[in-house]
Symmetry: C2
């Protein structure tokens, strides 16, 4: 790192836009200049790190120093709901308390602000000062007459109670304050009330201790950047997952499922501030919301159930308009969620938004959309999706395979299926995987001669490089080994050998890599796992192993 710091931070960011250290250096420079010239910088900062509370706060505080309240207001509007960062929210409270002093309904606004903040981030282990400030604020509210006095006491007591039920640091201070507060009001009543609250307090204190050891090593300040797979990144993910799993065990022992769910959701939100580039965390957060909503529905809490559903939609929207904007996984999960809710138009809109992103290979999306339309609207409309996919230049061969299988498996029409395959073969004769899917289909139908014709067709198209031909020869041989007589097997074997020799000229290819597919059956391999690795078998299977769908697109999208 130290070697890097000699280069100027702009240059570093140019070569790696996620170089957080370089951004921090820049930030320090820009913080000392007038805000009028710095908005462009801050905008690039929060565009690059849209879920970083720290950077939003730096931007806002800079505006605040020049008392640009309109700008500040607009900035809070943009980040507050999405970024549940405790320091950002504390900054918001300070802002409201300092700037709204002159307005008519100041006290009401302030109380609302505090309530809003507590609802959003009151569960945070660092929320102590908010509770403390709120209580201090309430205590200072002038109350004239017994009625008003009683109202104020109730209000203060409510905040104390909420605080004491929350595992957070410095809770002992609030506890001492609370005891003094009650004793000050009514010595005799105090004993009973304190005893009652004491249980909550002890419980929270215990959980706070567990939480502290549970989150040891967790870096809550980390900014979301695309992971590089380093050990320290994995460690953070592991810690967050452990923390979330622990929250799911209901450490507070609450009987209110809603409260438990809220705490878990809050933990997910906190995790996403640092792990915003992990689709699995987004997905699991959404799944949890869905499950929690369902559980609440079953328990009869329709209102909270509905609220969590709305929150779930919010989470999905935040994902696909934010850091996960290219994650098909989250689009599909979102679509499935809406399908479950029978919001079919919403589902279509989700698929269409994904299809509208030019640089994302749309093939898998068309496959999913086609299946969805068949389920909900029937075969004719599903065929229209297939038509639409065919007209999209970015589409890969897989959609033809999906369409053909739909015709055969759902509409039970093998002839149409074969017509779809034939149509596809004209377009994708250089895609061995397409040819193989076609041949597999025919072979499954026991159409042996037609299977042979397809094999011959893809092999004699001759536009395939030798190494890709090999896999087809292996499958052809496999097919003949299964159905053919010895003569036809040997004939294929001989031609395959020539292709092998061609492929061997290509450096790095060797017989062994190529032969393993020939001898394997289902998960049974002719070598040990170690041996396969040594032979480089995985490397060859590049086409089969998980890869970005784009990479398998025959015509790379610009």
């Amino acid at each position: 790192m130290s070697g890097f710091s000699i280069r100027n931070p702009e240059r570093r960011i140019e070569s790696n836009p996620f170089d957080v250290d370089a951004w921090n250096l820049l930030l320090r420079e820009h913080q000392s200049r007038p805000i009028d010239q710095e908005r462009e910088f801050y905008e690039s900062l929060v565009t690059q790190f849209p879920n970083s509370g720290r950077y939003w706060r730096a931007y806002i505080e800079h505006e605040l120093r020049s008392k640009n309240f309109v700008e500040v207001e607009a900035l809070f509007q943009r980040c507050l709901a999405n970024v549940l960062n405790i320091d950002l929210w504390k900054c918001y409270i300070v802002y409201v308390s300092e700037t709204k002093g002159t307005i008519e309904k100041y006290r009401e606004t302030m109380a609302k602000t505090f309530d809003f903040a507590l609802e959003k981030i009151g569960m945070d282990v660092l929320a102590f000062s908010i509770y403390q400030d709120y209580i201090a604020f309430l205590k200072k509210v002038p109350a004239i007459g017994q009625y008003a006095e009683n109202q104020r006491i109730t209000a203060v007591r409510r905040v104390y109670q909420k605080a004491l039920a929350t595992p957070m640091h410095n809770l002992d201070t609030i506890w001492a304050d609370y005891c003094a507060f009650e004793k000050n009001i009514n010595m005799t009543l105090a004993e009973k009330l304190i005893a009652e609250r004491g249980k909550d307090y002890q419980n929270s204190r215990r959980v706070e201790k567990d939480l502290q050891s549970m989150t040891r090593g967790l870096n809550r300040q980390a900014v979301s950047v695309p992971p590089k797979g380093t050990a320290s990144e994995s460690k953070q993910v592991e810690l967050w997952k452990k923390y979330i799993a622990w929250e799911k065990t209901n450490p507070l022992g609450t009987e209110e499922y809603g409260q438990l769910a809220r705490r878990v959701v809050y933990t997910y939100e906190q995790a996403l501030l640092s792990l915003g580039y992990y689709p699995d965390i987004w997905y699991e957060a959404a799944m949890f919301l869905q499950e929690a909503s369902q559980t609440l529905d079953e328990k009869g809490d329709v209102k909270l159930a509905q609220a969590l559903k709305v929150e779930c939609i919010g989470l999905y929207e935040r994902a696909i308009t934010g850091l996960m904007k290219e994650s098909k996984l989250l689009y599909f999960a979102y679509a499935d969620f809406q399908e479950e809710q029978k919001k079919f138009d919403a589902v279509k809109e989700i698929y269409n938004r994904l299809l509208a992103i030019e640089q994302i290979n749309p093939t898998l999306t068309y496959v999913q959309l086609m299946r969805f339309i068949r389920r909900t609207e029937g075969p004719n409309n599903a065929r229209l999706v297939f038509k639409r996919a065919r007209e999209d230049k970015r589409t890969g061969y897989q959609v033809f395979v999906a369409a053909a299988h739909m015709e055969y498996n759902c509409m039970k029409d093998a002839d149409v299926a074969i017509r779809v395959f034939k149509l596809g073969l004209k377009k994708y004769e250089n895609e061995p995987e397409f040819g193989l899917a076609y041949a597999d289909f025919l072979s499954n139908m026991n159409e042996d001669n037609n299977t042979r014709v397809v094999f011959e067709r893809i092999l004699t198209s001759s536009k395939l490089p030798a190494d890709r031909q090999i896999r087809i020869w292996d499958r052809f041989l496999d097919f003949e080994s299964c159905v053919g007589d010895l003569a036809s097997i040997l004939k294929v074997e001989k031609r395959r050998k020539i292709a092998y020799e061609e492929a061997q000229k290509d450096l790095g290819m060797n017989h062994s890599m190529l032969v393993i597919d020939r001898y394997k059956f289902m998960d049974l391999m002719p070598c040990s796992g170690d041996q396969l690795r040594l032979i480089g078998y995985d490397a060859l299977k590049g086409n089969d192993t998980p890869s970005t769908s784009t990479s398998s697109n025959p015509k790379p999208v610009p």
Copy 2:
């Protein structure tokens, strides 16, 4: 390493029988003791490293020191043909020349020994001293009369010629000797002969230089040990492969394909002395022998073609009786080779030998044997193989799948296929992969209701752990997504969700891992490759990815 050497070598070998350094320490100790007490040690040494020329030589030289010629003879018998190590062979020549001096036909024996050695290792780049000794030996043979003298000159000249056509170190010495030799015989004839040989010599010298740079870094002394996948191991493999590939380019520019082939085979043999635990090197050596034999056949050199075939069988036998004794890959390749030669009985014997090894999962072997028998003997006998497999307690479910597919695809009888699947399901209802193969089969036949029945059957057997159920639920949902109506889809979806929740209780399982299979189609994935790795998708797919077949055996073989 130095930290290790304090422990005594026996202990080290106990914990790692392939600790070559420890064996070397032991060897040094044992070399100073009387051989009578040391045979047990040497036997364990050559058993552990059966293709190490150095260890065989150490054993033999120890016996030689006590003049135990009978034992020495027996040891040479055991190793000489299999271990083409130049130092071992030089030791053999010395042994013959020193011990056979008294026998009647000493000279004839010696000449035969030299000729035999040159045939086997005369191509070695270190063979210089053998040629030199042979020439010196021939020159010393007393020749009385002009005829005998001429015969001797011819014999010497023949060895010179052979040497000069071989790229090896110190060739210039032989060249100078040769020139002197010819000039000594006949000054006028010498010029012509020297000019002729000169071309060979220059050519060999050039190739020897190339060879030297080609093999730089190659450790020919390395003993074969099971690879650990270290960088230095990979480097050696790479160097050997480069060397072999270079020999295949015919660097000597010979027009005799047979000579080229012999050199390549010799290089493979040398590689196998160090890389004896790499099945791919064995396999490629065998493939090369097969191809070379075929090429020679086509060129009309039937004799050498036949010799290489015999050599190929020898190589396979050496592999499967030696370091590759558990490599199914080599057994199968050997069987295929014999099948091509139409040696069907030999094929059966090979499969039977593999099946006889108790600790090797026989499932894949039965699958291959069944297919072979169907090809060569027809369906009835193939069914007998299936019967035999069923009676073997070690057999896994895959053989039922193979048999069912054979019935359907080859015998075109779907009813029998389904009977096979039904039979299998009774035995393997806890094998989700078997159930899935059955369901896939039915689904391919558009037997929707029966497919559902199978899904229900495997899912309600309930003996499956939650994580394994998930994959079946995904496939069930996939099936319904494809053929079912919305109601049946949602019904499956709901039940799947419960299974998901169960699976999640199992630590380390998460929704994301499980959902990817649901959204993928063919090679299209809903996430980027990097994301999949981060999510740990590969790890979950443990069941699908290459593994030793033993690990997937439901009932581990003792």
